[in-house]
């Protein structure tokens, strides 16, 4: 456990000293703050506008950060040959991969907390304390689960591909993953072999739409992050399990690839 924690801590430290991540965070905070101005432009929809723009900022920038850090994670260790110093030490390769993943997740948690606080402060500034409710926290939690999967996928690609290709693949998985319900509908309409291919794709790729359920119908009920209890505890529990399960499988694959690699 000490070894995994050491790798995680070092990965977090690396991210914390990375100026690019601070730039991304700055843009995210600027976008969230701009929601105040956008709120003024909307009529009687200030609260909705601030929440929508704020959560959109958290969503987009957390995914960008997850992909940016995730695809560089293992590749950089190999390209810079730092792995030659680490792996001869009494650490298993799977521990190293897990430590790196935990380090990135710690970074993402910190980033989402900072961005979430920014959304909460903006909402509170515009609409008072009642604007900061459980629905906002639940939405942030779902976005965290979303990047859990995105990070794992980016890391899987990073274990055998260059950062550019890994980034491209990861972004592709994210876009298609977010559109899974639409792709399913398309598969039914197209039918035949292409339809079966699309259905198979939906089965293999992560259903990331689960993590942005606002505006969807769940169990016959239309839900929204702007009104009511948003999603219940059971929804949060099973989507979290889904995210952790999917990430475990993908991370396991990355560990398998990493296990047999020659570090020439």
């Amino acid at each position: 456990m000490r070894r995994i924690a050491a790798v995680a801590r070092n990965t977090f430290r690396e991210a914390a000293r990375n100026k690019i991540l601070y730039s991304l965070l700055f843009f995210a905070l600027a976008l969230i703050a701009s929601a105040l101005a956008l709120g003024q432009l909307s009529v009687h929809e200030e609260r909705r506008m601030i929440r929508d723009v704020g959560l959109f900022g958290v969503d987009v920038f957390s995914v960008l950060i997850a992909i940016f850090v995730g695809v560089n994670l293992l590749y950089k260790e190999l390209a810079l040959k730092t792995v030659y110093t680490i792996l001869p030490k009494p650490i298993a390769r799977w521990e190293f991969v897990l430590g790196k993943w935990l380090g990135v997740m710690a970074t993402l948690v910190a980033q989402i907390v900072v961005m979430g606080v920014a959304v909460a402060v903006t909402s509170w500034f515009e609409s008072g304390s009642e604007a900061v409710d459980a629905a906002l926290v639940k939405a942030l939690w779902l976005l965290l689960m979303n990047v859990t999967i995105v990070t794992s996928v980016a890391m899987l690609f990073s274990s055998f591909s260059s950062p550019f290709l890994s980034g491209l693949f990861s972004l592709g998985v994210f876009v298609v993953g977010r559109s899974v319900p639409d792709v399913r509908v398309l598969a039914e309409r197209v039918g035949g072999a292409p339809g079966r291919v699309l259905s198979a794709g939906c089965a293999v790729l992560p259903n990331l739409h689960l993590f942005t359920p606002s505006g969807s119908a769940i169990a016959g009920q239309h839900i929204t992050v702007h009104a009511g209890p948003f999603v219940g505890a059971s929804y949060l529990a099973w989507t979290s399990l889904y995210a952790i399960g999917y990430s475990t499988v993908v991370l396991g694959l990355a560990m398998l690839i990493f296990r047999r690699r020659d570090f020439v």
Partner: protein, 329 residues
């Protein structure tokens, strides 16, 4: 199948195998081969072709070879960074990679790269944590090692600001963080200035005195002559010689260097002798088999004074060149 290994040149033991079983072997490579597949057409490149040798407890072992001989690949196989295509590598009696064995081995990779955003203290703390060293002991050991490798003055500076020599030093320090019994250093002197080289050489000797086993690869031969108990020479992926330096080097006198002051009145040189360049003293090289005594008597009779007489035996460099040339032929 075990490949025929080069004879273990050691007067104290009849063969390498007998030595290995009689003494405590800490590192063992047995008919190790590594073939890489490179490029679009997956061209086969044989980097290591049936290398067998053992490193025994407490010795300083030099792993020599020209560039591209397969030294680093062999060391990486011993460290579990590369998997052999065939053959067996063992560390401390266990098949590589083994966590218990890794805990007792420190490794410095060739031209090491470290996390440049860390300070030496942070880096050593990280290295210690990976070796399961408790936090308090890590701080203590990092302090000691920074002093030992002469980096006390730079403990708060990020590694990105380190020179090549300083990086090599911090690399050695990280290899020692787990207080290992076996230290494997891949080209530890490369890129160092003469002072830096001397420091590393002294450190290797110090580790040897502490009872640690040191295996290091290099092609800087004078360092090997000064530090190593035994050496292995690898050329073109094959082991050419392994054993004690004294046994590997021919005892035969290759030539004799004579320095005279003043020069003899009648310098009658034996056949094959030549005058060496230089001012002042007269320096001569007499070939093997020349009657040195007769020449010295004649020189003294001619009024010359004898400053020095140095028989030149085969050096490690001669052996190295001989092995490399034999391979080429």
């Amino acid at each position: 199948m075990i490949a025929a290994r080069p004879a273990e040149a050691d007067a104290a033991a009849p063969s390498g195998t007998a030595r290995a079983s009689a003494r405590d072997v800490v590192l063992r490579a047995e008919d190790v081969r590594k073939t890489f597949r490179l490029g679009f057409f997956r061209k086969r490149v044989e980097a290591v072709r049936g290398v067998s040798f053992t490193v025994e407890r407490g010795e300083i072992f030099g792993f020599l070879g020209p560039n591209g001989a397969g030294k680093t690949t062999t060391l990486k196989m011993l460290m579990g960074l590369i998997f052999p295509t065939s053959g067996r590598v063992e560390a401390l009696g266990r098949a590589v990679p083994d966590r218990a064995a890794k805990r007792r081995i420190g490794y410095l990779p060739e031209t090491p790269y470290f996390y440049e955003y860390l300070t030496p203290e942070e880096f050593l703390d990280f290295a210690g944590a990976l070796c399961d060293v408790p936090a308090a002991a890590r701080r203590r050991r990092a302090d000691q090692l920074l002093g030992r490798v002469g980096l006390d003055h730079a403990r708060g500076r990020p590694l990105r600001k380190f020179s090549k020599g300083m990086l090599q030093r911090i690399g050695i320090a990280q290899a020692l963080m787990g207080d290992p019994d076996v230290v494997v250093l891949d080209e530890p002197m490369t890129g160092l200035d003469p002072l830096g080289r001397k420091d590393v050489r002294d450190l290797i000797l110090e580790l040897g005195r502490e009872g640690k086993t040191v295996l290091y690869s290099t092609h800087i031969l004078p360092d090997v002559e000064m530090t190593c108990d035994r050496v292995a020479i690898v050329v073109g992926g094959r082991l050419r010689s392994v054993g004690r330096l004294a046994s590997l080097l021919s005892a035969r006198v290759l030539s004799t260097e004579i320095v005279l002051r003043p020069a003899p009145a009648r310098p009658g040189l034996p056949a094959g002798a030549r005058r060496l360049p230089g001012e002042g003293d007269v320096a001569l090289e007499l070939p093997a088999g020349a009657d040195v005594d007769a020449f010295l008597r004649a020189a003294q009779a001619g009024g010359a004074g004898i400053v020095s007489v140095t028989p030149r035996r085969e050096s490690l460099e001669d052996l190295f060149v001989r092995e490399a040339q034999e391979k080429r032929e």
